[in-house]
């Protein structure tokens, strides 16, 4: 088994950039005065000549990234998910995605686990916003290993990519030695035929723990990790719908427009089954320690167990 790593995916992102920049000279990194928080600071330290702080001006940063990409650079533009995808939505849409420029957008501090900063900084809409843009690939890695693979895959893809980064240090779930990140492929982490739990991001590990707990009570839950929300792995979802007949989704995001809707969109059209969307129920978050919030909002294993049981009842 690979080492269990407890690390925030933003940290893994910063490390991946440094590693990839060793061999790829086209990588440049942009930030909007949040390098210390998005962890592009790790890259900045190693490659100061390829790092550009754009100041607190996210709209301009996305445009600058577009211009750099048009000249053959591969810019990674980072900010908090709130500002990257919210403030700069239209710059991403019109200057990056419409001309299909090779820009990678990193949105850190996504989800409720941003914690104490509260509702203004807890982005719960980024997946919905980015999913809705043509040409955009959307990736939400669950842990350190997945983030390393995701950054590499994003680099290898010629086109715009949105990477969702978390603030909170989380234990890794992909600890198998043969772990390989495949863009657009869902990963079955537990097999079962009573119900399918589809999760993304930091909820994935909790979903696995929940499935193990459910098993003790005689419920065989399949757990599918969807790291690539767009394009989504339709085959794995249709198969799960056929074989388990019930799907429950978990995401640290508003239930509108995120993973749940992406899964529902596939299943309702290709193999309709009963589906429940768990996440933040169209509400804003509030301040508090990340771990407490995750518990309150039902993103820990006990919360997932409860939801699954009530779904099956």
């Amino acid at each position: 088994m690979a080492e269990l790593v407890v690390k925030a995916t933003r940290e893994s992102f910063g490390e991946a950039l440094c590693e990839l920049a060793k061999t790829n000279k086209d990588i440049v990194v942009l930030d909007a005065d949040l390098a210390a928080a998005t962890k592009t600071s790790i890259f900045k330290k190693e490659y100061p000549d390829r790092f550009f702080d754009c100041g607190i001006a996210e709209g301009n940063m996305m445009g600058v990234a577009a211009g750099l990409a048009s000249c053959g650079k591969i810019p990674f533009a980072a900010s908090f998910a709130m500002f990257a995808t919210g403030r700069a939505f239209e710059q991403i849409r019109n200057s990056i995605a419409y001309p299909k420029l090779n820009v990678k957008i990193a949105g850190s501090h996504a989800g409720i686990s941003t914690g104490e900063d509260g509702a203004t900084h807890q982005c719960l809409e980024d997946i919905a916003i980015m999913r809705a843009i043509p040409n955009m690939t959307v990736i939400n890695p669950a842990d350190h290993y997945e983030m390393l693979g995701a950054v590499k895959a994003a680099l290898e893809l010629d086109g715009p990519v949105y990477l969702r980064l978390g603030r909170l240090a989380v234990p890794s779930v992909n600890n198998n030695d043969d772990y390989k990140f495949e863009l657009g492929k869902g990963v079955t982490l537990r097999d079962g035929d009573d119900v399918t739990i589809v999760a993304t991001g930091l909820v994935v590990r909790e979903a696995v723990l929940a499935a193990d707990e459910l098993k003790k009570e005689g419920i065989n839950a399949r757990v599918i990790n969807i790291h690539t929300i767009k394009p989504i792995d339709e085959d794995i979802l249709i198969k799960a719908a056929k074989e388990t007949g019930k799907i429950i989704t978990f995401e640290e995001h508003n239930v509108i427009g995120g993973l749940g809707d992406a899964v529902a969109s596939v299943v309702s059209q290709k193999c309709p089954v009963l589906l429940k969307k768990c996440g933040v129920q169209d509400k804003f978050g509030y301040s508090g320690p990340a771990k407490e919030l995750l518990e309150i909002f039902g993103f820990t294993a006990p919360g997932i167990v409860k939801e699954v049981k009530s779904f099956l009842a």
């Binding site: 440049v28 001006a57 301009n60 445009g63 990234a65 211009g67 750099l68 200057s95 001309p99």
Partner: protein, 282 residues
């Protein structure tokens, strides 16, 4: 430049206005006012200044142009077509279904267009990115971007201006087409841009002024801007919105309206008379 060269540029600009008017008339939509005000600037840049050839429009060493006020593309398309980036036959198909020439510039569909633009305030940021890429790679290409004066009401424009001077982008020249009008009225009524020169200077730009319809003046300002070292340059171009068509000049209602058949004939005849006077033909 000598008088022959100047005459040649005037002829090309006049033809660009004719093609732009025709395209907008055919499409029954478009933005004639700003297309006519900026036509001389595009003409100078592509025929006298920029290092870019239609044979190799994606040459990594070429000079680049970003039309930040993307709606004023009909006359730019005409200049690019006359220069040979694509066929003149594309021009009358402007804005039609399946056309190469979109309502706002699309770098994917149109050879010679260096950046998709149209949402105001965004092109200038991309121009900054291009200039920065040139600095990173030690290339000596230049980047030009034309903005509208009304466009300068967008906050992103000033984010970009700050970025340009902070990064010493002396390979960037910004040209602001100050035709004084925007959709809802004069720029002074709607947004209040002045004193633009002082604002640009305080944002770290070397500022020049020119008559945007006088090729001697355009040459003087662009040459001076090119010689600025260590900071970006900006040229405030005084222009006439609707330039060349009497009933459109300085009229706010010709920002984004197409002429009807009668108006088209009048406008076309006025431009043809100017072309004839210059000794040019279509």
């Amino acid at each position: 430049m000598n008088s022959n060269e100047k005459q040649e540029l005037r002829i090309i600009a006049c033809k660009a206005r004719l093609y732009a008017l025709e395209g907008i008339f055919n499409a029954k939509s478009g933005h004639p006012g700003g297309s006519l005000s900026a036509a001389d600037i595009y003409t100078y840049l592509y025929y006298k200044e920029m290092k870019v050839t239609p044979e190799n429009p994606n040459n990594p060493d070429r000079d680049r142009f970003v039309l930040s006020k993307g709606h004023c593309c009909p006359s730019l398309y005409a200049v690019l077509a006359m220069k040979g980036f694509f066929s003149l036959e594309e021009l009358p198909k402007l804005r039609k279904v399946g056309a190469m020439l979109q309502g706002h510039p699309d770098m994917k569909s149109t050879p010679g267009i260096d950046m998709s633009s149209g949402s105001l305030g965004q092109g200038i940021s991309a121009a900054c990115g291009m200039a920065l890429a040139g600095k990173i790679d030690n290339k000596d290409y230049r980047v030009y971007s034309v903005l509208g004066d009304g466009e300068c009401e967008e906050g992103q424009v000033w984010e970009a201006f700050m970025f340009a001077s902070h990064n010493n982008l002396d390979n960037l020249t910004v040209i602001i087409d100050c035709n004084g009008l925007q959709i809802d009225g004069t720029v002074e009524e709607v947004g209040g841009l002045e004193p633009l020169d002082k604002k640009l200077e305080s944002f770290g730009f070397e500022v020049f002024k020119m008559d945007g319809h006088d090729f001697d003046d355009i040459e003087k300002a662009i040459t001076a801007a090119k010689n600025v070292k260590g900071k970006p340059s900006a040229i405030i171009a005084k222009t006439i919105k609707g330039k060349g068509i009497s009933y459109m000049e300085n009229q706010v209602n010709w920002h984004g309206a197409a002429p009807n058949a009668e108006q088209y004939e009048i406008g076309r005849n006025e431009l043809l008379a100017q072309l004839n006077e210059l000794g040019g033909t279509l």
